[in-house]
């Protein structure tokens, strides 16, 4: 079975494939950017941790975007970006080749 990562699986193949959270929540069509179907909290880059630019030298150039599952509220991705940049589509599986991964090696 294809998956974006340990938390997000792709169920089905081709145009009907959907991305599904580990909790069972159907995130959205696998052919689209999964992040657009999640809840997002955008805040200062300091939200990423206590030692992230604590003196604020970067001003407000960068933001921390946290993406949560609408079903279970699990954190599914954290993206650091310049404020004006679009949400990055970081993982795009080739759904035309659903059997591409050979798992025979175990």
């Amino acid at each position: 079975m294809a998956r974006l990562n340990e938390r997000i699986e792709v169920v089905g193949t081709g145009a009907g494939a959907v991305a599904v959270c580990g909790c069972g929540h159907e995130i959205g069509p696998a052919a689209e950017n999964y992040k657009l179907h999640l809840l997002m909290r955008e805040g200062p880059v300091q939200n990423a941790g206590p030692w992230v630019d604590p003196n604020g030298i970067g001003g407000d150039r960068f933001v921390c975007r946290e993406f949560f599952c609408p079903g279970c509220a699990a954190l599914l991705d954290v993206e650091i970006a310049q404020r004006h940049e679009p949400i990055l589509w970081d993982v795009r599986l080739d759904l035309a080749a659903p059997e591409s991964e050979s798992e025979s090696a175990g």
Binding site: E32, L36, G49, L75, I80, E101
Partner: protein, 637 residues
């Protein structure tokens, strides 16, 4: 002379393929020759950069200059050596490349990663035939230019950076050319150190030369040539098989270089069947100078990322990998500089971020694979801080130094375990940092502290490795008149978290001026951190700073940790407590990021409070986050 066994090893096939046993013996031997060349270089060099921090490497190339074996140090040098040899092959008449010749170059537009990484290469002849090349490189502390050290602050093009020299012959048929050596050393502020490093690099080449010739003498030149081609073929085949085991798709990342503005290094990695394409064409246009890298350095940077992520169980033959990898760049960008853009700090900016960005894509490729998930790692230290010091040392002599302690970055979280604290950095499997005592012996400084800093690794079910923080003062000299502090990852954390893991901390450097540290030390005390000292804190907003340090000033920096993996709320509370007990996580961070409430008096987890805290965090997430669906904010590319 060849023995019977070796003759039998050379099969009758037209490609001269070897029997597997002989092949493995020769493959291992060639790798060991590299190790010995690197060891020789370290022992001859007097530079702490080579000897203590291993900012160097060696490589073996075939007759055409393709690198078939890279040493276990800074891996990006593989392509630098290779490109330099190819340039020599093209520019010099065959008759001018002979036994005992050694060439050197620091020209990034030829192959050097940046001007400071001088490439020294030598042809290896056996039976009168050119069979291979050896190469070595050590980061030099000063090679001239208007500003001391590597970072040519204020440069607007390569014309205001360190002077370039395309490949020149430094050793002619075994004889060092004193005129060329003198011309080289004339341009540095540190002729003794740079001169010794030059001899060290030549010594490394000499050892590799002699050992490969011995090998050819014992097994036969044709057998050695077949082994060299066999290494490339075996690695290419094994690498392509590895790719076929992994899912197809496209992974993207934006990394950033802070300079006069922010320069994104954007990569799109497409993996199809047994090929891998890295497309950097959307990266930022180049700066005038300092932060760009040339195309050979970008290609080397990709190889440096692919080796640790996908090639952990095969011979490190960059030439073999390159048969399955395509790197697309656009001339005039920070990762493919157009002449005469400057490149003096390339290895900690352009090519560094090219490696990190490729690495993020590779980590997410592994994260998408069930069968290879155990090889997954989040980003290792995604931005390197370096400090160049110049002045008069405790012996009254002029000195120059590159303090490379920040190489002890945190490694990325794995899918089954945390990243390593002070694990190093991805570009070098042998990364170490100098002992404090060696630094204090060499330079007029006294460390007050150097330790693992809690909470610097990205939070996650598995957290990123923490990095170190350190403080030091001037010692044995009046002051440090020239300090050039430089880093990327100061505005934003370069170490990315994956699948819900948080990124690391950022690089930070400050100086507390005019403190009471001397009085404290005289009274037998040692400050635990800057908070224990009176004085005025100077925070540097620029990612590159030229400053000085007086007798009462305390310098502190914090390097960069590794990225985390998976939602930190899924971390077992007992693991958080274990981190707390060894000083890896604070009580506040345990509560805020992990939702774990630690009873610090009794050193135990408050289970009920933890359960409630985690419920509260999830509720807070639902309240503070909004749906995006239909917003159309995704990058259309």
């Amino acid at each position: 002379m060849t023995d019977t066994l070796a003759h039998e090893a050379l099969s009758s096939g037209s490609n001269g393929s070897l029997d597997p046993v002989t092949f493995e013996i020769l493959r291992s031997r060639l790798s060991a020759i590299n190790d010995e060349a690197a060891m020789t270089m370290r022992l001859v060099s007097g530079s702490p950069v080579a000897n203590e921090a291993y900012d160097m490497n060696v490589g073996l190339m075939d007759a055409d200059g393709d690198c078939f074996a890279i040493g276990m140090y800074i891996t990006i040098h593989a392509l630098a050596l290779s490109s330099t040899v190819k340039d020599i092959r093209q520019r010099f008449e065959a008759a001018d490349i002979g036994p005992g010749d050694v060439f050197m170059s620091n020209d990034p537009y030829v192959g050097a990663c940046h001007q400071m990484d001088v490439a020294v290469v030598a042809p290896i002849f056996a039976d009168g035939r050119l069979v291979a090349w050896t190469g070595s490189t050590v980061h030099q502390i000063d090679l001239g230019g208007p500003v001391e050290g590597q970072v040519q602050l204020g440069a607007t093009s390569i014309w205001s950076e360190q002077p370039l020299f395309p490949p020149i012959k430094i050793v002619d048929a075994g004889e060092l050319r004193p005129d060329v050596e003198r011309g080289y050393l004339r341009r540095t502020r540190l002729p003794h150190l740079v001169g010794l490093d030059l001899k060290a690099m030549i010594a490394g080449c000499n050892v590799a030369m002699a050992r490969v010739q011995d090998l050819a003498g014992r097994y036969g030149t044709d057998v050695v040539l077949a082994a060299i081609e066999g290494v490339n073929e075996a690695t290419a085949a094994r690498f392509r098989a590895r790719l076929r085991e992994l899912p197809d798709g496209t992974w993207s990342h934006r990394g950033y270089i802070e300079y006069d503005e922010v320069y994104p290094v954007v990569v799109e990695m497409t993996k199809q069947g047994d090929s891998l394409i890295f497309d950097y064409t959307a990266s930022a246009d180049q700066a005038g100078a300092v932060i760009n890298c040339t195309r050979p350095a970008c290609v080397g940077a990709v190889v440096a990322a692919v080796l640790p992520y996908l090639c952990y169980d095969m011979a490190w033959s960059p030439a073999g990998l390159q048969r399955a990898i395509e790197v697309r760049t656009r001339e005039g960008t920070v990762v493919h500089a157009a002449w005469p853009a400057g490149t003096s700090k390339a290895t900690t900016t352009g090519s560094f971020m090219a490696t990190i960005s490729a690495g993020v894509c590779l980590s997410k490729l592994l994260a998408a694979s069930e069968s290879h998930l155990r090889q997954f790692m989040s980003t290792w230290m995604g931005g390197l801080y370096v400090e160049d010091l110049f002045g008069t040392d405790q012996r009254g002599e002029f000195f120059g130094a590159a303090i490379l302690d920040a190489m002890a970055g945190g490694s990325g979280a794995r899918a089954f375990a945390d990243g390593l604290d002070a694990g190093g950095f991805l570009d070098s499997p042998s990364a170490i940092i100098a002992n404090i005592e060696d630094i204090e012996y060499s330079y007029p400084v006294l460390y007050l502290s150097r330790r693992i800093q809690a909470d610097t690794g990205g939070a996650g079910k598995y957290r990123g490795g923490n990095t170190l923080a350190m403080t030091y003062i001037v010692h044995g000299a009046e002051r440090l008149p020239v300090k050039i502090l430089h880093a990327i990852g100061t505005y934003q954390p370069g170490s990315v978290g994956v699948a819900g893991g948080y990124p690391s901390n950022t690089n930070q450097f400050v100086i507390k001026r005019g403190t009471d540290v001397r009085a404290l030390l005289a009274g037998g005390g040692v400050p635990d951190d800057l908070e224990d000292l009176d004085g005025k804190l100077e925070i540097f907003a620029d990612p590159i700073v030229k400053t000085s340090q007086g007798p009462d000033d305390v310098h502190r920096y914090v390097a960069m940790g590794g990225g985390g993996y998976l939602d930190p709320l899924d971390r077992e509370p007992e693991r958080v407590l274990a981190d707390y007990t060894v000083g890896a996580v604070s009580v506040a961070h345990a509560r805020d990021a992990y939702g774990v409430v630690i009873d610090s008096d009794r050193v135990r987890v408050d289970a009920a409070a933890t359960e409630q805290r985690r419920r509260d965090i999830r509720d807070e997430r639902r309240l503070s986050a909004s749906p995006l669906s239909g917003a159309g904010r995704s990058d259309p590319s």
